[in-house]
């Protein structure tokens, strides 16, 4: 229900003008932020978003002048946390640190979420993961061409570790289509979570793993990367990109895009507060001391900005909605 009114507010673009035109009203209130700000992390403690939120929080609260409180609301593929966030008022005192892609599209496309992807506005998504096709050292598989050849001959000849209903699965199927591999014949071994999929890959329990590549950085000396699903090489992996293998027009979905966001309606309801938050995140993300501190923890701080971040999530949503059949349980 609350979405409806929020969307209503969004549509009323005049509200924005009214806000700017009424500085006296704003001056009457204490300057934002006048109380602690909650950061919703829709995952349990210890995951990437949790670590990112906790690592950046000390710097961000210095920039904002108010403490940040991390609120973990894990569960149901971030659906519970995203729903909770949407239920909080759009007054700038609740912000979110989440894997906007793929979880917002997944919530909307497969879990009947009570919100839309466009109800979220990402200020910056510094961490941009990508699906990587990987094999353990010593499996004898050395190149993606070998995988293609073997799967073309018999799609079930290699076991593939993968998460069900994931961007990785969409990428695998697009890859199969591009190379004339029989989708239905693939031997998928499903894991719930990237960590277990990577462990199974590194341990050669499965022949090939299809899972986010950044998580493999820690296991780099145990695995052989075969291909990254991106428009160019990533993170120094010695593996071709999907555009080199499947052609320049190769279809693929970007991996997890994690970072900081607010209610989309905040831009209309409190544009001044949005400015404060956005510029604080921007200045902190560009601060060399912060970049160094986060790099030590394998956390990204790249500044892409709201426009590029939201555009990329929209694109991911569009590709995923075209392949919604793959996302509905396998």
């Amino acid at each position: 229900m609350s979405n409806m009114t929020r969307r209503g507010v969004l549509k009323g673009a005049t509200a924005l003008g009214a806000m700017i035109a009424a500085p006296t009203v704003l001056r009457a209130q204490a300057a934002y932020p006048s109380q602690p700000i909650n950061v919703v992390v829709p995952f349990d403690t210890g995951g990437y978003n949790d670590r990112l939120a906790r690592a950046l929080a000390p710097y961000l609260q210095d920039a904002l002048g108010q403490p940040l409180i991390i609120v973990n609301r894990g569960g149901a593929g971030a659906l519970l946390g995203h729903t909770y966030f949407m239920q909080q008022p759009d007054d700038g005192y609740t912000i979110i640190c989440t894997s906007a892609a793929p979880f917002l599209p997944l919530n909307v496309l497969t879990q009947n979420a009570s919100f839309d992807v466009s109800d979220f506005h990402m200020i910056n998504t510094p961490s941009r993961d990508y699906t990587m096709m990987t094999t353990a050292n010593g499996t004898g598989i050395t190149s993606v061409q070998e995988v293609i050849d073997r799967l073309k001959e018999d799609a079930g000849s290699l076991s593939i570790g993968i998460q069900p209903a994931s961007a990785d699965l969409v990428n695998l199927m697009l890859f199969a289509d591009a190379h004339g591999i029989d989708r239905a014949g693939l031997r998928l071994v499903t894991y719930s979570g990237g960590g277990p999929t990577r462990n199974a890959t590194a341990g050669a329990v499965v022949d090939v793993g299809m899972v986010g590549g950044q998580g493999f950085l820690r296991l780099a000396d145990q695995v052989t990367p075969l291909m990254v699903f991106d428009s160019g090489p990533r993170d120094g992996w010695e593996a071709p990109a999907v555009v080199d293998v499947s052609g320049a027009d190769a279809q693929f979905v970007a991996g997890s895009q994690r970072g900081w966001g607010v209610h989309a309606s905040l831009l209309a309801s409190h544009p001044d507060r949005y400015e404060v938050i956005a510029s604080a995140i921007e200045s902190v993300s560009k601060d060399p001391a912060v970049i160094a501190a986060l790099q030590e923890q394998d956390l990204a701080t790249d500044w892409h900005g709201p426009e590029a971040s939201n555009r990329s999530i929209r694109q991911t949503f569009e590709v995923m909605s075209r392949h919604v059949d793959l996302l509905q349980g396998s």
Binding site: D44, T45, G46, D50, R51, R54, A55, A57, P58, V71, N72, R73, G74, G75, A76, G77, L79, L80, T83, Y84, Q111, G156, S159, P164, A165, R187, L188, V189, T190, Y191, S192, G195, P196, N199, A200, A202, G203, A204, V205, V206, R218, L219, D221, Q222, E296, Q297, D298, G329, S330
Partner: protein, 505 residues
């Protein structure tokens, strides 16, 4: 085995900043208190204090966090003994004999047994870690779904010993638990039994459900009793009795070593860990004990088996973390994050290049285990006063604390609601003579059983010959069969002896 250069530089590292050791005691205490609070997990305690370590140097940070880890590992067994509430899921088997001991007025002894077993379990697991870190790491990742399934089945054998008088009721209660454990989205992406409730998509929250089944149902049954221990003169708090308990534990080195071995091996498998190792250790000990029929009624050996296994899982989890850079569970994930903050990244390279740090951390844990013995003594001495609280105050307070804990886990009402629903189920089960613990075991193992069975079918495409390609799994199954076979032989021999002595008398 030991690299003595690295050992000496480890000592240098440890001696370099004496002030680092200041963090050991607070760490242990924080761990003990948080672990003893029902519902607060080890991971949660460590996550809360992780940001503090940002401002510390590497060594104090690691001493502080691993001290919390060690403290919380034991803290969970205090409410398990005194109130039948496992503070963490890894203390489940501690309740089986610890709580009956407490009710019989042997609470001091039970706490002493648990403490000594935990300390020795932790110590021996780190000694094993020192020797096994390389071979264990070579094997751990190679475990496939069939091996994991075999381990889960091994845990399920415990159902046999939890059944009490009626095996049929025990199995039914266990099957009920397994079914509850499979609620939610399974590993293949199918959603079952959530009744459209999004909070159930990740399954029934295990800790609130476990607290409800075990604690609340028990407490409701105590409503006509005035004290936890009926006999007034048995309600004493005695340091001597706690120490006597610790001595009891030392008298069973075999049980302890078996527990530590099981704990290290199971603890080193990512995603399995201490909540299963204590079950397997308990059932193995019970099956091999000559006085098996007294297990569950307050046999200290049951407490030794459970506590030595769950505390030694810490060493196993650390081995995997060091050797492979992989967190076996939440706690080691947080440790890895803390390492990363200080530019230390786990993995094979790390062990090869930074032996001194690995040794330093292992030695730190030796020191922690020794300190835990003393801090733990004071802690359990204070905690034992619970038996002097009249139940009309204790029951509502425990229920309130459990409800807070359930809320803390889920950060929403879903935790307390789960607690409430499962208290009712537990009370009904108790009333009609079904073993509640069997349901909890089923619930803990149900997910593991199901997901690995699914993966086995996916990877083998249903071909039976896959079994033959997995010698590891075959070995686990064979070990299990041998263990059961020996038990049957032994009990038959005992029965025959009893019968002949009856005839003789």
């Amino acid at each position: 085995m030991l690299d003595f250069d690295a050992v000496s530089s480890a000592f240098e590292l440890l001696g370099s900043s004496a002030s680092a050791w200041v963090y050991l005691l607070p760490g242990l205490l924080i761990g003990l208190v948080f672990g003893a609070m029902p519902g607060i997990s080890i991971t949660m305690a460590m996550a809360i204090f992780l940001p503090l370590t940002l401002y510390m140097d590497f060594l104090p940070a690691i001493i502080f966090l691993t001290a919390i880890y060690t403290g919380a590992g034991f803290g969970g067994s205090v409410p398990a003994v005194l109130m039948n509430i496992p503070g963490t899921s890894s203390a489940l088997a501690t309740t089986f004999d610890g709580y009956p001991m407490a009710r019989a007025g042997r609470h001091n002894e039970a706490l002493g047994v648990a403490l000594a077993s935990s300390v020795i379990g932790t110590l021996s697991s780190y000694i094993l870690l020192l020797l096994l870190i390389v071979p264990v790491s070579a094997v751990v990742l190679k475990l496939g779904p069939l091996e994991m399934f075999a381990i889960a089945v091994w845990g399920m054998l415990l159902l046999g010993s939890l059944s009490g008088n009626s095996v049929a009721r025990g199995l039914l209660a266990g099957a009920f638990g397994v079914l509850i454990g499979t609620i939610g989205m399974n590993t293949a992406g199918y959603v079952r039994g959530t009744m459209g409730v999004p909070w159930l998509l990740d399954g029934v929250p295990v800790i609130p459900a476990m607290m409800g089944l075990l604690a609340a149902s028990q407490l409701l049954n105590l409503i006509n009793t005035t004290y936890l221990i009926e006999n007034e003169e048995d309600r004493g708090i005695s340091f001597a009795a706690i120490l006597a308990g610790a001595k009891t534990a030392i008298r069973y080195p075999l049980i302890m070593m078996r527990g530590a071995g099981i704990g290290v091996v199971i603890g080193s498998i990512p995603g399995v860990g201490s909540s299963i190792s204590n079950l397997i250790s308990y059932s193995e000990t019970k099956r091999n004990a000559p006085d098996a029929e007294t297990f569950g009624t307050g046999n200290p050996k049951g407490v030794i088996a459970a506590e030595s296994a769950n505390s030694s899982s810490e060493g196993g989890a650390m081995a995997t973390m060091f050797a492979l850079g992989i967190p076996g569970g939440g706690a080691t994930a947080i440790l890895l994050a803390a390492f990363a903050m200080h530019n230390v990244v786990g993995g094979p390279q790390f062990i090869a290049n930074s032996k001194d740090i690995v040794y330093a951390i292992i030695f730190t844990n030796f020191a922690q285990a020794v300190c835990l013995m003393f801090v733990g003594l004071l802690f359990v001495y204070a905690a034992a006063y619970i038996v002097r609280v009249p139940l009309r105050f204790l029951i509502p307070s425990v229920l309130a604390v459990s409800t807070f804990g359930a809320y803390a886990i889920s950060n929403s009402l879903s935790g307390p609601i789960t607690l409430f629903v499962f208290s009712l189920i537990g009370w009904l089960m108790l009333r009609y003579g079904y073993p509640v613990a069997a349901t909890v075991v089923g619930m803990l193992l149900g997910g593991l059983l199901e997901e690995n069975l699914i993966r086995t079918l996916q990877i083998s495409r249903g071909e039976f010959s896959y079994f033959l390609e997995r010698p590891g799994a075959l070995a686990i199954f064979a070990l299990m069969l041998v263990s059961i076979g020996l038990t049957i032989l032994n009990s038959n021999r005992r029965k025959r002896l009893e019968r002949s002595s009856e005839i003789g008398s």
